[in-house]
């Protein structure tokens, strides 16, 4: 007389999948591998986590933008192939301060470039839309934004301090995301 067993008992495939790989020699067992340095396990887990860290990505991005800004000190007259003046220390310092403010505001410039009018500009892009804040050697600051449709808009940042910068970024952000 045949003896029927419940299906769960004869499901060897599922049982095999639960076996430790070391049983089939696919990897060394804990006995074969010896003691694992605990700090290496922690370091591996930390690196895996940091790769997905938005904070770390932004920190690295702003460090790179700071490097771009520092490199502008090496610009010479005619850097654009014509007659553009190099940025002076005042415009570089103003742009550096703007980078710190923008970092706090969660804004992320696409590039830091010298301005052909003499100064430094922070550029923002989003799809086909563009905006920049420009710090000129004469101390003036201007913002400009435009897209594939509509008229370009520009205005001078008139108020002192970080407030004008925050307002300019609010305008540009709204435009880029509209």
């Amino acid at each position: 007389m045949p003896l029927y067993l419940p299906s769960a008992v004869v499901d060897y495939v599922a049982a095999d999948q639960r076996r430790h790989p070391a049983i089939f020699g696919e990897m060394p067992s804990s006995a074969q591998a010896g003691p694992q340095p605990i700090e290496r396990l922690y370091l591996t887990a930390l690196l895996d986590t940091s790769r997905h860290s938005e904070f770390n990505r932004r920190t690295q991005k702003f460090a790179a933008l700071g490097d771009e800004l520092a490199r502008l000190r090496h610009c010479a007259f005619g850097w654009d192939g014509y007659e553009a003046h190099a940025p002076n220390e005042g415009s570089i310092a103003a742009a550096g301060n703007a980078l710190r403010v923008l970092d706090r505001l969660n804004a992320e410039p696409a590039a830091v470039l010298p301005s052909a009018d003499g100064g430094v500009g922070l550029c923002f892009t989003e799809n086909d839309r563009y905006g920049h804040i420009e710090f000129l050697n004469n101390g003036e600051a201007w913002a400009l934004m435009y897209g594939p449709t509509g008229e370009p808009q520009s205005w001078q940042l008139t108020t002192d301090g970080d407030d004008a910068l925050q307002q300019a970024w609010a305008h540009i952000r709204a435009f880029l995301q509209s």
């Binding site: 005619g78 850097w79 654009d80 192939g81 014509y82 007659e83 553009a84 696409a110 590039a111 470039l113 010298p114 301005s115 052909a116 009018d117 500009g121 550029c123 892009t125 086909d128 563009y130 920049h132 420009e134 201007w142 400009l144 435009y146 897209g147 594939p148 370009p152 808009q153 520009s154």
Partner: protein
């Protein structure tokens, strides 16, 4: 002003050194040609490191000293990078933009209620080693620069580099 010196002729970097090049780029006694067609494309060099997402941006376009370009009618795009058209200096790390004459308005009125109108007049100003050079002068640099920057800002979305330097 760049390209203003007669200077000795230079060996071309980006074009074959032959009679065709010298006939095209050097003045060779030719008079200025002040006729500008709307479809003509002036060429302008642009630093490659200043492209943002592969596009030129108005931040890097200078207007207060006038817009200096090479005329398409008398030059190839790469000629704007040749030492003959750059005061004898090579321009590595630059790309060439092709603009449109039709994008440049004849006149612009200010929006500050002063009633000022700025005329935009291209002028062919050849030099001995660079016949295609064109300079578009303007008065009242500061205001004009700001207006032109606004008006030409769409360049950044419509234009892409046409020629890549070495």
């Amino acid at each position: 002003m760049l390209c203003s010196k007669p200077g000795p002729t230079s060996v071309p970097f980006y074009s074959p050194e032959n009679e065709e090049y010298y006939a095209r780029v050097h003045r060779n006694g030719r008079d200025p040609d002040q006729h500008f067609g709307l479809e003509e494309r002036p060429f302008r060099r642009y630093p490659e490191a200043s492209l943002v997402a592969g596009k030129p941006v108005p931040l890097v376009m200078q207007f207060d000293a006038g817009v200096s370009v090479n005329r398409e009618r008398f030059s190839e795009p790469q000629d704007v990078l040749e030492p003959d058209c750059c005061d004898g200096r090579p321009r590595p790390g630059h790309v060439v933009l092709a603009l449109r004459v039709s994008n440049v308005p004849n006149a612009i009125s200010t929006e500050d209620r002063s009633g000022r109108v700025f005329q935009f007049r291209p002028k062919h100003t050849p030099c001995e080693t660079c016949y295609p050079t064109q300079k578009s002068g303007a008065t009242s640099p500061a205001t004009f620069t700001r207006i032109m920057k606004d008006r030409l800002s769409k360049l950044g979305t419509n234009s892409a580099p046409r020629w890549q330097g070495k």
